[in-house]
Symmetry: C2
Subunit: 350 residues, 2 copies
DNA sequence: GGGTTTTTTGGTAGCGCTACCATATTTTTC
DNA sequence: GAAAAATATGGTAGCGCTACCAAAAAACCC
């Protein structure tokens, strides 16, 4: 019997990985492995005496739990995949930062995925990350492949959709009202007395950043309601950048020298425009007014300082993570939909 | 016998998670589970006929492999933790982007961790992420707790240390020569004829971004060798930002009105300075020359355009990921140390 | 055609942990 | 102080997959 056991012991472990296991700790502490497991996961269910002895053994042996094994046994790995369209857009980074900080504090790890604005890639990526038995998932946007929605709904674990707001989310939703943002800036420009107002953006085809398009729709409706020319749209396909902002600015100026104001889809573009105006010696807002969206800190340092609609991006991430944690800890959040809001920041560029 | 088996079948699965397993696929295809495993992982070891039948079954059932189970069995989960000091510093984001893009293409997922420049947090975080049996790890910098180094060396899987360069890395190393960067800009400023040159940075205490300090050391040595006042250092403790750049600029101007050039620890600070100079109506470089480090695209759009030392950050990430993949695929990289290089980008601000 | 090599498939036994249930111990109750 | 309830610990059986070895089938060889 003993010999047999020793034989088994010898050929355990397919491979060299000689990590300290829960069994080693159990032996050291003179208890059963399951007791160690409990001491670690639900300490209140173990007597103080044993708990101490076990903690001691953990310390001595330098035991680090194998979360993979734990995950397999209990189906849940304290990993939260965060799926965003792009990692080269600062906005998403700031949101991820908020998520990461909040989750890491609670002992969860963020698994990063980017879809490049492609819903098929999103579906494939989701399949892949669900293979990690994550505890929950954070997705960008409310538009997904039908299969993606179906799979996540059937999955039965917390899902948060971020960035935009809508009535029919998969599970929970934290975001902002994009049309509202667009309308807000448009209204501001009208109030300032501007009438010939263009909207300038990037990637606004349905395939890519449709949230920018929603802002444009909001903008357009306000102008149309005011009886002002509302179809003035300049659009590039590349991702937003200072350079594209500069180009849009120059193109719009060329095409419509009579323009009074430019409403940019985001601060990156608007910044490129202001810097281009600076270089040409044009006066903002006297020659041309410029408004943005995001509230990047850079806006304050430009001359003139940029008028923008500020959204709390980091906080959006924090809020999404908090919702997820609440659900994971069994607390049913009263409001599974959080409007993170926005604020018109009026400065000198309009 | 059959009854016994059925009995077992009935109470399998502790919990409701009724995912399709490899066994379901095997049954559907009329083969053994291990054959399905092979068809998926090493297709060339399975006959074309079976492979097709299995692919068919996978398709039909919508099977998605449980990577956790696979990871437990084979000790390796196609996860690569990337540990960086901060997610609010654009540089790291760009590196992560390069890493993520490269790894995702090869079927690996990035697990994100940030240490807030704290080596103890780094050690704890490492313990935690090693619990996921990752296939490899990417760490920032060459300075770690001794225990961290020991653990990673004993671990035996690929480790890449990024951002800086040194003789004694844990396993592989991709980075740049920080002292060289600092020296490069200092030399440029001297060549331009400037003599009263200050270095301005943030978080340069040993505890935080010691890489900035290395750049300063490089700068200082060049000035000292040229017999020029070399101890001119202005320093803040908060993280770099446009705002801090502005403040450092104004402070330095106040403290030393005779300054001819400012060498900033990075482009964020330098940008804040140029924008501050713009606002005050100061001429750059006539009144004061300004140099940076990084090569952010914003630098091109400022007036004057920013002279800087450009480092290929995205490419650094790509290179780190490639090294890791090479090792994971069994190819021993000839050069486990890659100097990613830098380039002096001379524009009008100096 | 029998033997040898090579290729293809399958059986078994874990990977390290935790859910579930059973047993032992302590505390409470009347 | 015995019975009942509550608490503390342990045993067993997987979670779903793959490493390892064995067996079967196919290809090759003289």
């Amino acid at each position: 019997m003993a010999i047999d056991k020793a034989g088994v012991r010898e050929r355990r472990r397919h491979r060299g990985d000689n990590r300290v296991t829960i069994e080693d700790v159990a032996r050291q502490a003179g208890v059963a492995p399951i007791t160690v497991s409990r001491a670690l996961n639900t300490p209140e269910r173990v007597s103080a005496r044993l708990r101490e002895r076990i903690d001691q053994a953990v310390e001595t042996l330098g035991y680090v739990p194998n979360l993979i094994a734990g995950g397999l046994a209990s189906a849940g790995t304290r990993v939260i995949p965060v799926v965003v369209p792009s990692l080269s857009i600062l906005t998403f980074i700031e949101v991820i930062h908020g998520i990461q900080q909040t989750l890491e504090g609670a002992g969860y790890q963020v698994l990063l995925g980017s879809t490049d604005f492609d819903l098929d890639r999103e579906a494939a990526l989701l399949d892949s990350v669900l293979g990690y038995s994550p505890s929950g998932v954070i997705m960008t946007g409310l538009r997904h492949r039908e299969s993606t929605v179906r799979r996540l709904k059937a999955w039965g674990r917390p899902v948060v959709e971020i960035m935009e707001l809508g009535e029919s989310c998969i599970d929970m939703n934290v975001g902002i009202d994009n049309a509202g943002v667009g309308a807000c800036m448009a209204r501001h420009l009208l109030e300032r007395g501007y009438r010939r107002i263009a909207f300038l953006g990037t990637g606004m085809g349905m395939a890519r950043d449709y949230r920018a398009r929603e802002r444009y729709e909001g903008h357009r409706e306000v102008l149309a309601a005011a009886g002002v020319e509302s179809e003035l749209l300049f659009q590039h396909d590349e991702p937003s950048s200072y350079e594209v902002g500069r180009q849009l600015f120059l193109e719009a100026l060329e095409a419509r020298p009579d323009l009074e104001a430019m409403h940019f889809a985001n601060d990156n573009l608007a910044t490129g425009a202001i810097l281009a105006a600076n270089r040409r010696g044009m006066r903002v807002p006297e020659d041309i007014a410029i408004g943005g969206y995001l509230g990047l800190s850079l806006g304050e340092h430009l001359t003139p300082r940029l008028t923008t609609v500020t959204v709390p991006r980091f906080e959006m991430g924090v809020e999404a993570a908090k919702l997820l944690l609440a659900r994971l800890e069994g607390r049913l959040p009263a409001l599974p939909r959080v409007d993170i809001g926005y604020e018109l920041t009026v400065r000198e560029s309009t």
